[in-house]
Subunit: 497 residues, 2 copies
């Protein structure tokens, strides 16, 4: 029986190698490839993706999984081997349901639509993008037809396995009820964030980012950080973690770096025994985002952390921050204010951007809206949820890349990450009572280790829901997150001390 | 019939993508990968190599080649399609002859031997390396047994297709006869190269390298240059060329950069119609080395080139070179003096290092020498050819990496490159009568274009011999190279003006 298992692991090792290598091709293209190489690079990426997919969905893999059933049943369900067989079978059965031809059409439509979208956004020209959105939508309907179940559930499942639309809707409805009045309260007492309007030199930002990263646990034996146009974290197994950032004149890079560190740390702390298997990575986008948001917001925008970092910031940026005290800085980086662009949004309003997209995506998939009417629907919701008038489609319906690639079902995971981050944070606070004292000393090892032990090392052994239950003891629950936001708004709208 | 050809091209495109991607994994590892990633990287490289090989030697490829015979015969033999079918068939038949198991053993033995060799070299401990050399040699004998022909011819063929040992021996014997007295003459009149003993700051070297590269035709749309421990050129098709260098305190990086530029330019100027096929690369190591040597020595160490560059060098390194005139600098960078290490050797003595290895490799393969006696044989030849006593095996038989990977048959191509570089140079001089005047003006476009038109664009369409014949009108001939070296030594041993 071990021979069959070895054979399965060998095949999965190859597929993982191909997947990581395909991702390296993308990292390289985005970070440093000479621009002229892009046409041949697209071919190479397509080849790697196709081969990885073909070798995974092969009949031989199904046969091995079938042959391994008796062995699987003899194992503890929590063991690495039982989990490997179980998860691989689920992945294999799901992947087999979509014909290669449809996959090819979807990939081709996405590749065709993306440059059109980029230009349409620049020109605020929704009509130019519309035919491509139409095509992506039709293909997604054909994709949905490959599976049984509620249409939007099928899309969600690609990013947050097992998550149901109804469950998300319940959480989001609760958030909407609570957040709309919070946003109004914050708007009535605006925070002064003028201290962030200065110009912060790139080299000094880079220096500060490295000070923070090294305290967090970045170690150049296993990590790299590079500049990129669209920041993201990449990993090629647990031993090669690459985060990226972009330097503007503001301090955005500091927070975006802590965000990407959170993603990178999750991948870095997966049990190395799971490397070169489908289990050797974070379990879902929602859980992943909970980790990036935690380091960005629950650590990085907390007062105890800033009490440690701020003296260094003031020293580094004495001209910009010399006369600003830490409480003023803390309030500025936590400012809540409605704005048009999701990726620039604060912690509270961000969720309304996501809820809007979640609702519109369901309208699209269930054909409750004509695609040509999307801009109007978008703008109406922005007015309703954030009280602002969208001036053009560039700052409205065209702002995000996701739909150009047919990525319906992705957006909700951003807010699920926020919700989950606080569910986990409550456990962290109980387990490490002096957590904030540690932050004030610039100590983050206990947090890092707790996350590694309780979440990261599990990789994809369990479903996202089971993983969440193991870490927090409960299912998805917006309560802790909403209490956190209420406290935050309460602090910010109180008169400064 | 075009359907079969399209199918073949699709398969070869995939194989080429896998090959380039495997090479990118190596480039990345050597240039920037976090060190901790090396174990997983080795797995990924092995996976890519295995898949590329399997997909190339597949029965389907053989069947397509067979089906395409009538079509091939209907084409002009010089056409891209006829060449593609012809060369692919030759590659396929050759690759099929070695069992996958033996390939695996060879790769594994090389991977095992390399770190042992590295440590043995450091400790000058030949006995520690001997068992691995033994193993590599046994495996090479089994590899040779897969083919018909003279044993050393079979090894040469892997690096210089179609080249015969007897042909190399004839050329090398002629070189030996001519070079030994030249080396003695140079030793009797040593050049003063004290001006090169200064310390040249890295950042200024980098600046000068870029000035030179940009004049040569380096364009950051298609090229990169990075730092690396062992400089080499990498390419992933014609549109992504990456050269590398290493900065010491001397000016070695300047010449090594021009060398790697020569390799890179060859790949850059292959006909883009040959991209994603086995034809889309330089034809052999010897032809490739002719290009690197040409830019390093025939351009970079020429007086006309230095007349253009030297004022910039003097300006950049005024403390080091301010009181040195261009003729003195020219003589210093062309100094001929026997030394122990091949990679540091001058233009003349370099060939004796290669001839020594060529002779010893034949002795090994034909079992005319016991491996344990190699150090003694090495040292005796060094004494005979260069008149120097090797002090230890680190500076003797252990200096090069090649044998640790079983790379017998590679060394001769270095000197073949020197020989060929001058055969081509004679044609260049005829075609561009004012070549040296152009160099004095810092103009290299005519040379670059002539090489592109007459050599580079051909890629692997023809055999190395046929390629050489098409470019120069003749077969391998040491005459031009020996005349060049005689002139050079004559100049250097004459009293300075």
């Amino acid at each position: 029986m071990n021979e069959k298992l070895d054979e399965l692991k060998k095949r999965l090792g190859e597929v993982t190698d191909l997947g990581h290598t395909g991702l390296l091709l993308e990292w390289d293209q985005q970070v440093l490839m000479p621009a002229g190489g892009s046409a041949l690079r697209s071919d190479a990426i397509a080849t790697l993706e196709r081969l990885a997919h073909e070798r995974f969905i092969a009949d031989e893999v199904g046969q091995l999984l079938e042959d391994l059933r008796p062995y699987e049943e003899s194992l503890e369900p929590d063991s690495d081997d039982a989990s490997l067989i179980r998860v691989t079978r689920r992945d294999w059965e799901k992947a087999r349901k979509v014909p290669a031809e449809l996959r090819g059409e979807i990939a081709h439509a996405a590749a065709t639509a993306m440059p059109v979208w980029a230009e349409a956004r620049q020109n605020s020209d929704f009509a130019a993008f519309l035919p491509h959105l139409q095509r992506n939508t039709e293909l997604k309907q054909r994709y949905i037809d490959c599976y049984d179940g509620e249409p939007y559930d099928i899309l969600l499942d690609d990013y947050e396995e097992g998550m149901k639309t109804s469950e998300v809707a319940e959480v989001f409805d609760e958030m909407k009820r609570e957040l709309v009045p919070l946003i109004e309260a914050a708007a009535a007492n605006p925070v002064d964030d003028s201290c962030l309007q200065a110009a912060f030199p790139r080299d000094k930002q880079l220096e500060v980012n490295h000070v923070v990263l090294e305290r967090f646990g970045y170690d150049e034996t296993y990590w790299r950080m590079d500049e990129i146009v669209h920041p993201a974290a990449f990993s090629f197994g647990t031993t090669d973690i690459r985060i990226t950032t972009r330097y503007g004149t503001d301090l955005e890079s500091l927070f975006s770096t802590m965000h990407e560190f959170g993603h990178g740390l999750y991948e870095r702390q997966v049990d190395p025994a799971l490397d070169r298997t489908p289990l050797g990575t974070g379990v879902s986008l929602g859980l992943h985002e909970s980790q990036s948001r935690m380091w960005e917001n629950l650590v990085g925008r907390s007062l105890p952390f800033l009490r440690w970092l701020y003296p260094k910031l003031q020293e580094t940026f004495s001209a910009q921050l010399g006369s600003v005290d830490v409480e003023e800085f803390y309030r500025a980086v936590n400012k809540i204010q409605p704005s048009f662009i999701r990726v620039d949004a604060d912690q509270v309003t961000y969720n309304m951007h996501v809820i809007l997209r979640f609702e519109l995506e369901q309208d699209i998939v269930l054909e409750r809206i004509a695609l040509k009417d999307l801009p109007e629907a978008w703008n109406a919701k922005m007015k309703e949820y954030l009280g602002i008038d969208v001036p053009d489609d560039r700052r409205g319906v065209l702002q995000d890349i996701h739909w150009s690639g047919g990525g319906f079902g992705y957006f909700p995971t951003y807010s699920l990450g926020n919700v989950i981050s606080l569910q986990i944070w409550e456990r962290v606070r109980e387990a490490i009572p002096d957590l904030y004292d540690q932050f004030e000393q610039g100590e983050f090892g206990a947090l890092r280790e707790w996350l590694g032990e309780n979440l990261h090392r599990l990789g994809r052994k369990y479903t996202p829901q089971e993983t969440l239950r193991r870490v927090t003891g409960s299912s998805l629950d917006a309560g802790p997150y909403l209490r956190y936001l209420q406290d935050k708004v309460g602090e910010l709208t109180a008169a400064p001390a």
